[in-house]
Symmetry: C2
Subunit: 405 residues, 2 copies
């Protein structure tokens, strides 16, 4: 008998029929001889509707009250999923975040899980019940209701899997798993059977939005093995786990694309301590997320910084830098280029295989694709390029590294 934690997102519980489907799926998992904890999100659309209501009443609603409001979405789901299980003759109980012992820290609407006191969940499992837990929520030490922000339900599922010592945590979603590349871009993209936490993290941070990074980081930190799979079929998904030797035989695990990127280049900055910090501090204060950063300096003692931001942040970024430059130097200049994409190849095999970057640049060059910025980590190489060439680039790389086989 295995103990399985299953996470069902808002789409999976988005209607009465879908809730009944989720119940059927949980029932099947039980009948296969497993104990089940199901972590559920709010019914699709409910959270947005509540946020809309809040904004109609107050354009800047207090986050303490947003937490109280939004937590009701998951609370409704747990009750309804439990009722659906009862209608199939399965003994089940609902647990709010509080009842599941999810203790959080941090500011409202951006909770972090501090610990999970899972006695109530365990007692109910031991009594032979399925336990339905509200994702995305917990309670602070001061007793206030707390939500976990984006990707919170995945995080709840992984943290609860750890707390109850689950044998497996399944993240049930609307995709079949993690692919070598987005199948809409590369037709023969292949589902990855097993991927390491680090690769999953690099893919997530490079635009493959299957899961938020924070959930993968949590799983990695506590060694929680999880599987990303579809709630719509019985296909096996992608297992995410710690790196092992056999994984290194695959050089590249996947290719990801992040679109809507812009490049900003600041030139002519006197190369002395503090000048660069000033620029990136200004961007941070303007709440601009800076991604790829490439810096260099010239023989004349002038520094040059290039970096990428999302297209939607470009105007804000530009304004914050231009306000700064006159104080730094009359020589300083800003250049921008919108309509870029970031393409990344990820794989822990890179660590032991040389020549990956060379092969990648060669392939792109032969396809006539010009590369802008390049950044690398131990298991990832990212390049910025013209967004119009991104799909072509992904295809030639996918082919060159033989990812379809």
């Amino acid at each position: 008998m295995a103990l399985i934690v299953q996470k069902y997102g808002g789409t999976s519980v988005g209607s009465v029929d879908r809730i009944l489907n989720v119940a059927q799926r949980i029932k099947k998992t039980c009948e296969a001889g497993n104990q089940v904890v199901a972590v559920v999100s709010a019914m699709g659309g409910v959270t947005d509707k509540l946020i809309g209501l809040a904004n109609e009443i107050n354009q800047n609603p207090a986050e303490r009250e947003l937490d109280v409001l939004l937590a009701t979405g998951e609370q409704q789901s747990i009750a309804l999923v439990s009722m659906a299980l009862h209608s199939l003759g399965i003994d089940a109980v609902s647990c709010t975040g509080r009842q599941a012992g999810v203790v959080t820290i941090g500011s409202h609407t951006k909770g972090k899980i501090d610990k999970i006191e899972a006695n109530y969940v365990k007692d109910n499992l031991n009594a032979g019940r399925v336990v339905i837990v509200a994702g995305f929520q917990g309670v602070r030490e001061d007793g206030l209701i707390h939500t976990l922000g984006r990707g919170g339900s995945d995080l709840s599922a992984i943290a609860i899997a750890h707390a109850v010592g689950a044998d497996l945590c399944q993240i049930l979603t609307d995709v079949d798993g993690v692919y070598t590349c987005d199948p809409r871009v590369v037709k023969d993209a292949k589902k990855i059977n097993t991927i390491s936490y680090d690769e999953m993290l690099e893919l997530a941070s490079s635009g493959a939005k299957v899961m938020q990074s924070r959930s993968v980081e949590f799983a990695s930190k506590y060694g929680v093995v999880f599987e990303v799979r579809s709630s719509l079929n019985d296909n096996p998904g992608t297992i995410v786990c710690a790196e092992n030797d056999s994984m290194e035989t695959v050089v590249i695990r996947g290719v990801s694309i992040e679109r809507n990127q812009a490049r900003i280049t600041v030139t002519g900055i006197p190369d002395k301590p503090g000048n660069s910090a000033q620029i990136f501090t200004a961007l941070s204060e303007a709440e601009v997320n800076v991604d790829m950063i490439v810096s260099n300096n010239t023989h004349e003692g002038l520094a040059r910084h290039s970096f990428t931001v999302s297209d939607s942040d470009l105007a804000k970024a530009l304004a914050s830098i231009q306000g700064l430059l006159p104080d730094i130097s009359s020589e300083a200049e800003v250049l921008t280029e919108a309509g870029m994409a970031k393409l990344s190849v990820v794989g822990i095999g890179m660590k032991s295989h040389s020549g990956v970057a060379a092969k990648m640049f060669d392939v792109l060059g032969k396809a006539g694709i010009n590369i802008g910025l390049i950044t690398t980590s131990e298991i990832k190489i990212s390049v910025s390029l013209d967004a119009a060439k991104a799909d072509l680039a992904a295809n030639v790389i996918h082919e060159a590294f033989d990812l379809k086989s």
Copy 2:
């Protein structure tokens, strides 16, 4: 500075505009120099929608899960009302039933308030905040969410008023107060300024459905003075408080009508111990609420029971008695009469004024209205009569006892 508890029902918080109105009203109460605790219901329609959803999923949803589901309605309201107050510059915090310390006992969906540990509410009041409490809900000692059943929000308000030592508890509703009779029936019905708990209870149990009896009983037990008034205007309402001497100068406080009644008469029952009990036990087991009961026996040693039930229970009541009679006596017979109404006059002044019943019967007789059953309590006289004559009866009695002045 007074401490006022205000209760706003589902209609009062039924839309964004109405929530903003409630916030304005609370603000005005604060600006008049008062501390305010507001107890709110779920937005009108929300509870019914949730019950509908539950029934679609499971025709007989578990009551534990219904509590989890329904409690979200009030939780949404408290967050939204708090946000609305913030938009008016008023410092306010929401409290779920749990946070307000409402500890309950009893079975799910039918919670009773056991005690209120109001420290969190008091601390926030002392910090200068308005506190918005979710009505209709509490938490059991075992930590489970618990709703209070019909009239639960009124009960929450009165119990919280007691717990925080409020100077006044206002039940804000869609009527201006308690009237001498339903103004739709008697045109010159008058709003009652002050009424005793007992009179209010007798009126409530006689069809004047301003509040559920349980809330009035709670207020009476703990001496909580409350006012029933409109949330739509600033008219003073009806103060409900303990009986005092001046109240007795008014003989009759009000007239109420309960329609859709049926009369059942069982005759020819051998008058020996146990036979009557058998009949009323059968009715109770069939979950028929029996109201007025009049029993008598004949010189021949046969008993005769007449009683009223609601029209909708008539078939069920009849079936349960007919199944029983062959065992009791071949002489026994059941007669029924549907389309009846119960008319009651209520007033603590009756205790010290004689002749009320005589005057009432005389007035009805002169108006050509035949009386069926008659029952009396210390402060109430009820008669059953033809439903078609109920409005006429109310008017002639209202006139005869000069209730309009």
